[in-house]
């Protein structure tokens, strides 16, 4: 009951935010928070719940972004038509990466994800058909509503809110399904879970594929909002970093952790960029690095785990990984 009240309060704030704080900057900020929250929540499925730290998640983000822009730039279709294609490519790629590496210890998986992301970035940068270093652009002038190209950030805000809600609902549903129980068992002790008959590799793979699908959607939405994608914004390692740190700061393996992380870090980055200008980009990532190190050292469960642990020692949202 208490949870339901909290949930409605959060939902009410989220719906009312762009109407109460209605300057273009604030609306854009809100939309960006939700966008990164979608990507970080998607990462959370495999990084938080399955405990497999993907450091190259941007590769799925790029699949979505390039599919969406490609369907316009190459075929003259609405970017929306690219979304299913992006999901298919992302899920297929996740299977190719996951099948061999998820059997090994988690370090190998993390390293493989970095290598795949960098390989993809280098390949795309050298492929003329995908715009090489310049990238692909979306429609400059929207032809109709299906181009999802708006001047105001308000439509994006509500679109992202709906998709974030879907992502979170499916994550919640997953954690309460058989798969969720398997994942929790695997994360506590993979050997014990295996010996009790939990199909460890397959469950982790499903989590990875599900995560890839949502990350691809986030990438497509990102490209639609900004109207273009290039190798840095669509496949750069720093996007992976942002996704990962938001989930970890808020609380990896907690449903609302990524949203909390995004709500803290996106405004922080926007502010530091507008204060410090171009030079600020470097400083922002110094700060990100410091935050990640501090979380890892002192609070690996993320900020939200501070509350869950105090409220319920045996919380069902996975306080098990707290130190």
């Amino acid at each position: 009951m208490r949870r339901l009240i909290w949930l409605s309060v959060v939902a009410a704030i989220a719906i009312a935010y762009p109407l109460l704080l209605s300057s273009p900057f604030q609306q854009r900020l809100g939309a960006l928070v939700l966008l990164y929250a979608i990507a970080a929540s998607a990462w959370n499925i495999v990084g938080g719940y399955a405990g497999q730290v993907s450091v190259g998640h941007v590769v799925f983000f790029g699949c979505g972004a390039y599919a969406a822009m490609g369907s316009y730039a190459k075929f003259g279709l609405s970017p929306l038509f690219g979304v299913p294609g992006g999901i298919v490519i992302a899920v297929g790629l996740a299977a190719i990466i996951g099948v061999p590496t998820l059997r090994l210890s988690g370090h190998y998986f993390s390293m493989a994800t970095i290598a795949v992301a960098e390989t993809m970035r280098l390949i795309v940068t050298n492929t003329d058909w995908l715009g090489a270093a310049v990238g692909l652009s979306g429609p400059t002038v929207p032809r109709n509503i299906f181009d999802l190209s708006f001047l105001s950030s308000l439509p994006y805000y509500y679109l992202f809110l709906v998709i974030l809600a879907v992502t979170l609902f499916i994550t919640w549903w997953m954690t309460n399904s058989r798969m969720g129980f398997y994942l929790r068992a695997i994360k506590d002790s993979e050997r014990a879970a295996r010996s009790l008959g939990a199909p460890a590799s397959r469950t982790k793979l499903y989590a990875y594929m599900l995560s890839a699908a949502f990350t691809s959607v986030a990438g497509a939405l990102y490209a639609m909002m900004f109207g273009f994608v290039d190798p840095e914004s669509g496949l750069g390692i720093l996007i992976s970093v942002k996704i990962l740190i938001m989930a970890a700061l808020g609380g990896a393996g907690l449903l609302f952790g990524p949203l909390v992380g995004a709500a803290i870090l996106v405004p922080l980055e926007e502010i530091s960029n507008s204060w410090l200008g171009g030079r600020g980009a470097g400083l922002t990532f110094v700060l990100y690095g410091a935050i990640i190190v501090l979380i890892a050292r002192f609070q690996p469960g993320g900020l939200l785990s501070l509350f869950t642990r105090r409220r319920k020692p045996t919380s069902d949202t996975g306080a098990s990984h707290a130190p």
Binding site: G51, Y288, G289
Partner: protein, 287 residues
Amino acid sequence: MSFVLVQVIVGGLLLGAVYALFSSGLTLVWGMMNIVNFAHGDFVMLGMYVAYVVYTLMGGGPILGAPLATLVLATVGVVVYFALIRDIMKGPMLAQILGTFGLALLLRYSVFWWFGANFLSMPQNIVGGTYGFAGLRIEASRLLAGVVALLVTLGLHLLLTRTSLGSKMLAVAEDQTAAQLMGIRPDAMQAIAWAIAAGATGLAGALIANFFYIVPTVGETLGIVAFVTVSLGGFGSVPGALVAGLLIGVIESLSGYLIGAVYKDIIVYVMFLLFLWFRPQGLMGKT
């Protein structure tokens, strides 16, 4: 075989020896503590910048820069061990990966912020000119880097296998509690391992700084090279890292010469993935 091809292979071997040197640091820490240092490539980057600063401030070449970079990075290694690694080692996997990955970002962008994103380089003939040798032309800076790296890597292998310090470190790697009962302090041994591992990256960085481009993000590429080398050589094995490092150096420069410079990284990364898929225990590792 044409002379050009021999030239390319020799160049690859010389660079590969440096790869072997810094990768043996990664493999040492990985084998001993089962922790993967995602900041390893950025340690090499720091070594390069130390050498660069030594040159710009004091005008010193590698004779001053290399020992200083080794010393500075060894200190960094010990500090990192006591401030971060010792605690995250006992934590969950997420904390281990986040901790060293965050460290990588911190180092990379601190340097970026201080020095800017521009490519820096050392003067061309800081070590000496180019030697002709049986028809081959070899730059002195590359020759120095390759030979020193090879000797130090071999020395590291001897240190780990032939001295009492090496035996103590091996004991800690095998079983911490048992080692402690024998009067060996795991904490001290692991700190020494971090000093050696980071010192090796400092030396390697100072050696390649003489002919490599110096840029804050170079650590990312070098870090992946170290992963490839270690996974190819089998983790924990210095001789494995040596063979794998030389092999990767040759493959990289051959593919750069035969296919094109932009594809040499792609070839190495793809090779890494293929190895993870088909032979994760490495070339010389045990199954």
